[in-house]
Symmetry: C2
Subunit: 225 residues, 2 copies
Amino acid sequence: MRKPKIPEAAIKRLPVYLRVLEETAAAEIQIISSAELADKTGFSPEQIRKDLAYFGAFGTRGVGYDTILLSRRIARILGLHQGVHAALVGAGHLGYALARYSISRHKDVRITAIFDTDPAKIGTEIMGVTIRPMADLRQAVKDQNIKIGILTVPATEAQAAAEQLQEGGVEAILNFAPAKLRLGPNVFVQNIDLTIELQSLAYYTSASEEAAAQVVEETSSSIDS
Amino acid sequence: MRKPKIPEAAIKRLPVYLRVLEETAAAEIQIISSAELADKTGFSPEQIRKDLAYFGAFGTRGVGYDTILLSRRIARILGLHQGVHAALVGAGHLGYALARYSISRHKDVRITAIFDTDPAKIGTEIMGVTIRPMADLRQAVKDQNIKIGILTVPATEAQAAAEQLQEGGVEAILNFAPAKLRLGPNVFVQNIDLTIELQSLAYYTSASEEAAAQVVEETSSSIDS
DNA sequence: AATTGTGAAGCATTTCACAGCT
DNA sequence: AGCTGTGAAATGCTTCACAATT
């Protein structure tokens, strides 16, 4: 048993708690209740308590959670306390945006290597990190103990790039390319497809509502109950 | 009853089906089975059939789905058949990347207006769309019948920008700012927080595993069963 | 013979309700 | 008195298994 059985959804909420806790701690506030956390994050107090309880009892009954202590604990749970190295593959606009984001704002997940195929970009720097050719990828990932890969390459190149990351020993990939990656079971893949996000948003718009109703109407005949 | 009760998760899969169907249709293949769709998308055949069945019976038993017909139906369900207009707020690197993505690749969700506070950017163009000042936002959203807002502004400006989008009559917002938006019930908000994605990925890395175990160990005392 | 469409079962996640600490 | 931690109930989503259809 590798991981106990903590909902993936809960893991995704931890960084949100972390951010609020750090902000709160920075404001010199020492204690926060699940109700206050709920107000700031938009999740329910019960859910927050349950999420935290998966990892132990971090609060004080009748009081709340110590902001500094809890933020440290969450950073630890996520593995951010020691700084995780990430490689960015694809230095287009999206990659550039991510690199600036990540390199500047947090030290917890740091982009320490950047790769691209474009000879014009190779040798240039983003926030102090030199862009290198794809040929260097596998070895660099190994040498720099890089655990996370961020893929912002065109869909056609995604699979090949992902395989190189895998060979370098990456354990998780954040894939922005609209392509299904086929990798071994040791690499955790998280897909973010911006086109999907935009297109699915359209559904929640009046543009769709009637259309959907119409489609259902067109085809429904003997559907009841 | 506004929406029947179709899982949000199912809606998010529709654009994936759409993409594969369009690719398949473009390759002159007329029929595709749920099993083939499953192979190309990574979802299970049953799930695909169930998702589609929410909206009616689009396939032919013993045969499969007509690629062209089904892609049209999905586009319709999502409301993409008539083209949805979107406004981009914040023309930084991420905004720029999204604009290029969206304006070039698909006509279904089109960014037809871009706003920013930076005087140096105002008046310049991204892919043929002129960047305008925030003061124009509300009216432009109304005039251009814009239904979707894309927020790529700093967290501190997100709430104010979101309110302007809301006042302009936007029905859905894709929010990249790490801030909880407080808006009325008529605006559907989808958050994408790239920092969260990166930080939660760290959990699935060996950097965390021991750390998490350690935390649990530290605090677990009378937890059994 | 093949593949869809779908009730029912199975799982996972969220919410409820309250006991347990401080 | 107040707020956490947690079994139990409720809800939501996915998988199963098979009848229906071409």
